[in-house]
């Protein structure tokens, strides 16, 4: 029954909300996520703007509901590798990478990590922390089931006959014989909610990312600040291990190169200022900004509060003119001020508010699905002045930041709009009573 199934690609907030709504409407959902966990980018944040709610508290119930809903089949470590057929009758090929841990048997007790002799850098933690070869990305991961990194595991790489994790597991859940597999599922429609990435800050050498340890990307800062992050929320700078005292947040990094405003950076930059002053009341925080973009009825108030209490706002005519120089523990940020005169501030921490860019695999997925990307590399939607969820191919819908930069509210609205379009279309696929009667006679 093709028309009762939907494939949702991407397990972030947009993909999860779309899946839940489809499941509530009685559809069977295959939720395909490349990472070992669902939750997307939102769960990297300690708190979400503008209400500064705990992000985990906001998202974990949604993750739980997705994992517990009998109408949703969550496929982690999986990606879409092929699509055949047409709207109403797609056959989707999904490649599942071996997890080496049986989800049904694992209870998430974590006894397997300790004995693992391998230590590796934790990519999910923006490489600010370490993990084992068998690991969950962070505390509170959902599903709370570890995976084995086949490229690091001593046994799987053939380096040693190690079975430490297998022996530590009391439920026989670790299975180092697990294999990658390819499955095919049938679906009436596909919803693409694969999210987005961030502009590579190191491509602008003047900003010092990668050169000075005190220069951070937004997600590095989020994980540094997060209470479930690698430092348990202690703000200690890379290398020096000191608390920062002067922090410069530079807006619009990559805006000119990408050709668009990302719509959310102002708000998260102000949120960072709030975080910093809350934890380090003595610190000086500067926001180096040009246009302030606060496009929701609630955002201006948040900005006004931060401006008053948490951060000095420095107008910088162009990020092109910003340059970060210095040494490990003492940076200087040069910029052009409102009179187009050179200005300079001292800082020991610099946070670059980098542009939202298409997911690194967007072009590849577009090819697999036979849909178009726009000139910026995001998935193109039809008539983007009139509607914003239908892709260039019928039966495939786009939601969330896969379509373009946006805040969580707009991403969720778009996800539910995509579901509405999908449900309306699937309704037309349902065999009409007359056809059913005719078929049964034939």
């Amino acid at each position: 029954m093709h028309h009762e199934n939907v494939v949702v690609v991407g397990g972030g907030i947009a993909g999860m909300k779309a899946s839940l709504l489809l499941a509530h409407a009685g559809k069977h959902v295959y939720l395909v996520e490349t990472l070992p966990i669902i939750g997307g980018k939102t769960i990297k944040n300690e708190e979400s703007f503008p209400n500064l709610e705990c992000s985990t508290c906001l998202v974990a119930p949604i993750q739980q509901e997705v994992l517990q809903n009998p109408n949703i089949e969550t496929m982690t470590l999986s990606s879409v590798a092929g699509l055949e057929g047409e709207k109403g009758n797609f056959t989707v090929t999904i490649e599942k990478t071996a997890r080496y841990v049986k989800i049904a048997d694992c209870i998430g007790c974590g006894m397997c990590y300790e004995p693992c002799p391998v230590t590796a850098s934790n990519e999910w933690e923006e490489n600010l922390g370490e993990r084992k070869a068998i690991f969950v990305p962070c505390a509170g991961s959902l599903p709370n089931v570890p995976m084995v990194d086949a490229e690091r595991c001593l046994k799987l790489t053939g380096k040693e006959e190690c079975a430490a994790c297998v022996e530590a597991c009391m439920f026989g859940a670790v299975n180092l014989e697990d294999k990658d597999e390819t499955v095919q599922v049938e679906a009436g429609v596909v919803i693409v909610a694969t999210g987005a990435g961030l502009f590579d800050a190191s491509s602008l050498p003047k900003l010092g990312y990668g050169k000075y340890p005190g220069v951070y990307t937004p997600f590095e800062f989020e994980r540094l600040f997060a209470s479930n992050g690698p430092t348990n929320g202690e703000l200690k700078l890379r290398k020096t291990e000191k608390e920062p005292s002067k922090i410069a947040i530079i807006h619009c990094v990559g805006r000119k190169e990408r050709g668009y405003c990302s719509g959310v950076c102002c708000m998260y930059s102000f949120k960072f200022a709030h975080f910093l002053k809350k934890k380090l009341p003595e610190a000086c925080v500067y926001n180096l900004h040009s246009d302030i973009c606060v496009p929701d009825k609630t955002y201006q108030k948040f900005f006004d509060g931060v401006k008053e209490k948490h951060s000095e706002m420095l107008y910088s005519s162009s990020v092109d003119e910003v340059e970060v120089t210095g040494k490990v523990d003492g940076l200087k940020v040069a910029y052009n001020n409102e009179r187009d005169q050179p200005g300079e501030i001292d800082a020991d921490m610099v946070i670059l508010a980098t542009a939202i860019v298409p997911d690194h695999n967007a072009a590849g997925l577009a090819e697999v699905l036979g849909i178009d990307c726009d000139e910026r590399g995001f998935f193109r939607t039809l008539d983007d002045d009139v509607s914003s969820v239908e892709s260039s191919r019928e039966g495939i819908y786009i939601a969330g930041t896969a379509e373009g930069p946006k805040d969580t509210q707009t991403a969720v609205i778009q996800a539910e709009a995509a579901v509405a379009k999908a449900l309306a279309f699937l309704e037309t696929c349902r065999p009409q009573a007359a056809e059913v009667a005719a078929n049964s006679k034939g």
Binding site: C293, R376, D383, D384, V386, A417, K421, E427
Partner: protein
Amino acid sequence: MNAKIGVYVCECGPNIGQSIDIPRVLEVIPASEGYGDAEIVAKGFGLLCSGDGKEYLQKEITENGYTHLIVAACSPRDHNSTFMGVCKAAGLNPYLYKIINIREHCGWVIHDKDKATDKAIQYIRAGISRVLYQSELFERQIEITPDVLVIGGGIAGIEAALSLAGPDRKVYLVEKSGKLGGKSARFTSLLPRQGRGAEALREKVEAVRQNENIQVFLETEVEGNIGFLGNFEVVLAGTGNGTKTDLRVGAIVVATGYRLSDPKSFPGYDYTDSDDVYGALEVEEMLSGEGIALRSGKEPASVALIHCVGRKEKGYCSRICCNYMMKIAGHFKKISAGTEVTEFFFDMCLPHKADQQFFDETADLGIDFKRVIEITLSGTSVTYTEIGGGKQEKTFDMVVLAPAMEPCEGTDSIAELLEIDLDERGFFKEAHQTTDAVATSIDGIFLAGASQGPRGISDAMAMAQALAGRIRAQLVPGGKITPEVKVSEILEAYCTGCQTCLEVCGYGAIYYDDQKGISVVNEAVCRGCGNCYGSCPSGALRTKHFTNSQLYREVTEALK
């Protein structure tokens, strides 16, 4: 029949097995006193949430004929619903069961095994005390109508109607004015690409007219509303002819839109109706009508466009003004390339991926963009301070203002009628800013478009589609809904009719019965939050599954 309580302790592998002395629990619990004639059976099991565990538990319930069940295991967040399902499958009412969290609350936080075990025993005893006072509760199903009332015939309301209407679902579209289309119908072209925008809107209005499943009520307002998700009873009143129409609908969509605020109400905007100062909507109408002309009938040679009028006073950015001002500027240049067009802006708000490109293209038309930090208007004379510069003054032939969007007139009376909240700015308040902007605090009442906050056409339409998805999932034609079981109830004999409970109910679930002089809970609307229970001064209210006797027994036993 005497109570027979089954207590099942899950080892949860090492999590409970190693941190709590389960054999001692199993020995102590059945020998506990203070439960009258109740018989207590206690058993342990490796992993109750596993397939084997669930099968085992179901068999145990059936074979032993338990009247009540306790599962001592993990957090209810993890497996409460799992074990409720097991109870149902075994024929035991799931409200006669309770999960006790001896993992997070005991084993994981107390490192001394003896103390953790003591606490686990205490908790289990408290659970037994409570469960004996729990009552069977039964889910009910309520018939629904899938039909929908849409209030507001602008673009958001039209899109909602078109997204929902079908052979199995009628939509009643109510519009206060005499025609459909709302403000967007007055626009010369729609953003950002200005292509078929206006034309597409006309097509949509035509599609509504053609759709036999949409019934349009023009010059009509909503007058009465009672009911709940799936079953609202509304009364429509014709403003001209006074006709009344009673409707039964399953959901209500509020898409009443916005209006532009009056610039003269803000400090620094000093002009009269005879000055050539116009609001953005007036200019849109000129552009789509007879063309741009000053009050003298001449064409303007110089035009000033001023952004952010009233932003500071209102306390929010209206999101779409930067874009439409650029659009208007472009039109001036297209009409006459020689027109001198100056845009005074504070911050450019370009949050959509295509907006920057639109800005760049507009700037290429030769429009003078001035970033200002202060601006005042006297007639058509603009006094402004550019960022980093000094105060200057310049007089233009024509001034176009982008006043802040504000809620439409009548927004507060609709809020009162539907019992939904307004935010501090006067817009309708969404259920959750981040994750649920199309819902309200009342189940079945949804928001679309600028009635919830400033937004453009594309975003308003996305909201309309989103709520259509929600309604399609919630109100399936021919389907039923299952309301909350753990709701409040009022003991008539005790109620004094003080109506305190009406004030604290956030869901509009309690009404006052004039005839009887008491408050009444609408169980289909109640979410069981317990606010009324806590506020009732006469002890007439109670919330099922959280009664005083249940909580009292549990707490006193836990504190022994």
